[in-house]
Amino acid sequence: MVCTLMGLLLLAVFIGNIIVEGIGRIDWDFMTNLPSRRPSKAGIYTAMMGSVWILFLTALISFPLGVASAIYLEEYGTKSRLNNILEINISNLAGVPSIIYGLLGLEVFVRIFGLGGSVLAGAMTLSLLILPIIIVATREAIKAVPKSIKEASFAMGATKWQTIWNQILPSSFGGILTGVILALSRAVGEAAPLIVVGALAYVPFAPSTPFDEFTVMPIQIFNWVSRPQHGFSINASAAIIVLLTITFLMNGVAVFFRNKWQKKVKW
């Protein structure tokens, strides 16, 4: 009974949050406006474009890396010492605060690689951040493929890679996709590591190459929240609605794929 009350309290709090966002519904054509010193003129166009770029590049980098790593861990060298170390390491990485990844990205990608505060540096940093998520999800998906399928494939004279490419990956694809989308949804909401890497708070243009400077929606929100004028608070609310919509949409799509895939996996 006490518990139910607490659960309801939480719901109330959450709904309260949403109601507050309702204030932001006023601005709507500010999606195509560039940021400005005047709250009423400011738009989220550059931030949105930055987020899109980040999303795209991060997916490009982390997807193959994550899936390849997971395949290696699951199908090659199982139970070896190296695998043990890799697994423990990945568990640890999953618990490292995101801002530390920012520090890593700052020194390695921004300074040593000389990429500056570019979209590419940001994407590479976020890729490392979400890599453990993708690896774990992919491993789970691969584990779900019945051994009998692998056995049949080997018995027919397929090599290890042929079996992986022709049987295991197609069968586990739904689960992998779910994991990747969830990981990217997390990346879209990240601000701290990107701030450290040098995403600017005030960027009057959208990136046109991976080497351009950029900002993303969460940072734009952060910037507006830090300003005293009430107008910016409204902007922040509106931007939050957009960000949440994107986040929930991505999560929804991921869950959709997960359900679809789980139905398929009824051997």
């Binding site: 659960g7 949050n17 507050v20 790593s69 605060p97 995101s98 530390i100 300074r111």
Partner: protein, 291 residues
């Protein structure tokens, strides 16, 4: 064909090794910069000085204020999230009808997916003004609001991990308790929860680690005034918020001020690393119990 297979295996192995490189990279970057930092600032000062003012004219480099800021917020967060999260876990696992479960669980998943900037905004613009109606002396930036909202953020974390721990408790234990005439409530709290305690402890430790490393909520709502205090109503600064503060500013690369973020970072890293590994150890040690 054999060569092709070997090449593919090598490529896959290299991908997996990127994770190792990442860890090495983190450790190296933090260590090298911190080492350089500690050439100029003694470790003793770092640990014992009660002020943190690297950006002021009169520089102090004591980590304690940032640490206390981090810990106050974390403490408040866990203080709020643990009972609520645990109650939800117990309720969902032991009492809740399926329909209720099917509503609450997706909501919890959604809560876990919300970007932390949004929580920060919520803390600053809703929670703080609200609390100020109760306690007018509350600072516009303070640890309490940030802590409570951070608590909300961690609730899904604690509840889902605890729920896993609770459902791993064998049915036979519960049945034995019912068989002796205990009520559901008694069984839940006197048998099942203690039996799942290692899993619950693990969830709490991981939640603490998460809270310590959280950035945006505190950067927005807790303040930028490093201060060694236990008072949750005044502005403070956490380690993470400090790093953000410096990153937004114009600190020249290679300067002492620049290196402070790595010194702060390595402190943060050490804390979370130790916490995470304690939780892994506990998980491993007690998991065998029910296998």
């Amino acid at each position: 064909m054999k060569i092709r297979e070997k090449i593919i295996e090598a490529l896959l192995k290299v991908s997996a090794l990127v994770t190792v490189l990442t860890t090495l990279g983190i450790i190296l970057v933090l260590s090298v910069q911190s080492f350089s930092f500690f050439q100029e600032v003694s470790i003793l000062d770092f640990v014992t000085d009660t002020e943190w003012t690297p950006l002021f004219a009169q520089k102090h480099f004591g980590i304690m204020p940032l640490l206390s800021g981090t810990l106050i917020v974390t403490f408040i967060a866990i203080g709020f999230a643990l009972p609520v999260g645990l109650s939800i876990a117990v309720y969902l696992n032991e009492f809740a009808p399926k329909k209720f479960k099917n509503i609450i669980k997706p909501i919890l998943e959604l809560l876990a997916a919300v970007p932390t900037v949004v929580y920060g905004f919520f803390a600053l613009t809703v929670v703080t003004p609200f609390l100020q109606t109760i306690y007018p002396d509350l600072g516009g930036f303070n640890a309490l609001s940030a802590g409570l909202v951070m608590g909300i953020m961690i609730i899904p974390f604690i509840s889902s991990l605890s729920e896993d721990a609770l459902s791993a408790v064998p049915k036979s234990l519960r049945e034995a308790s019912y068989g002796m005439g205990s009520t559901r409530f008694q069984t839940a709290f006197k048998v099942t929860v203690p039996a799942a305690s290692s899993g619950i402890v693990v969830s709490v430790i991981l939640a603490i680690s998460r809270a310590i490393g959280e950035t945006m909520i505190v950067a927005i709502a807790a303040g930028q005034q490093p201060r060694l205090t236990l008072d949750p109503t005044v502005p403070i600064e956490t380690i993470t918020a400090y790093i953000v503060q410096v990153s937004l500013g114009d600190v020249p690369h290679g300067s002492l001020e620049y290196k402070t973020i790595f010194a702060a970072g390595i402190t943060l890293f050490i804390f979370t690393f130790i916490l995470n590994n304690i939780s892994f150890y506990i998980k491993k040690k007690y998991q065998e119990k029910y296998e």
